[in-house]
């Protein structure tokens, strides 16, 4: 029963939750949290589907899936660092972290 499909369903639900959070929330860090949820869901998908291949040496399916998930985690870390730096910088000038106020560049 527990094929990769069950895990993929969980990942899809998590991804949907992340999309909801990224679009609906107003606080900048809350949007960042939702983005992290989406990235985690994608990593779960990678690992679940790579399980269909046997574990061999070299760049084969299962090892490639897990290696890519590690890349994903590292890139998520880098992106979080930069995004938080941007949020702090904006907070310093605008005194708020609410995305509704980040609309100075109006035409």
């Amino acid at each position: 029963m527990l094929g990769p499909m069950a895990y993929a369903v969980v990942a899809a639900l998590l991804f949907g939750l992340g999309i909801f959070g990224a679009l609906a929330r107003r606080h900048a860090v809350a949007v960042l949290i939702s983005i992290e949820l989406m990235l985690t869901a994608v990593a779960l998908n990678f690992v679940s589907f790579s399980r269909l291949h046997p574990a061999q040496e070299g760049l084969t399916g299962q090892v490639a899936g897990q290696a890519f998930a590690i890349f994903l985690i590292a890139v998520a870390a880098a992106e979080t660092i930069v995004a938080l730096a941007l949020v702090f910088s904006l907070y310093r000038s605008l005194k708020t972290a609410s995305l509704d106020r980040f609309s100075i560049l109006k035409w």
Binding site: P4, V10, A24, S34, L44, V47, L52, G58, A69, S89
Partner: protein
């Protein structure tokens, strides 16, 4: 039977953490819900015998990124500020989009063939060898990315250089 129980419990943790993370009015509880969700996903990795990845997930995501987010939430709160509505104008659109996307993915999944191969463990050695033999250029590019992210974040967060001490 125990595997299904463990899968059910861990998926419950993951999805509950996700719901708390996107739905909570209190930013701190949202950050802790994210941590719960990340640890649940690490447990799901462990169930599929991806041990190295589960350890890396807890180490970096829950022990690094979650700390950064909790730090940001703790530093960005303003004392005495009334709790503004944390949901903007796009709530119905967002809920619809999220439901549509996950619904499409789940429909696609359920249509595909069901296969339950038993998970085989990947030793960490294989992943290391892949990183150093086949994926060497992306690996070095990743370290360059992390370095530039660090330097960039420091420059951006330091401000424009005026020292108002």
């Amino acid at each position: 039977m125990p595997v299904e129980v463990a899968f059910g419990v861990l998926s419950l943790f993951t999805l509950a953490g996700g719901v708390i993370a996107v739905g909570s009015r209190n930013m701190f509880r949202a950050a802790l819900g994210l941590m719960l969700s990340l640890i649940g996903v690490a447990g799901l990795f462990l169930l599929q015998n991806a041990q190295f990845l589960a350890a890396v997930q807890v180490l970096i995501f829950a022990g690094g990124i979650a700390v950064l987010i909790v730090y940001a939430v703790a530093l960005l709160e303003k004392p005495g500020e009334p709790l503004e509505a944390v949901f903007g104008k796009l709530v119905p659109v967002a809920a619809l989009t999220g439901a549509v996307v996950s619904g499409m993915v789940i429909a696609g999944i359920l249509k595909a063939a069901e296969s339950s191969s038993p998970p085989a463990a990947v030793p960490a050695r294989f992943i290391g060898q892949v990183f150093l033999n086949h994926l060497l250029v992306p690996f070095e590019a990743l370290s360059l990315l992390l370095l530039s992210a660090l330097v960039g974040a420091l420059l951006v967060a330091r401000g424009s250089g005026e020292d108002k001490h």
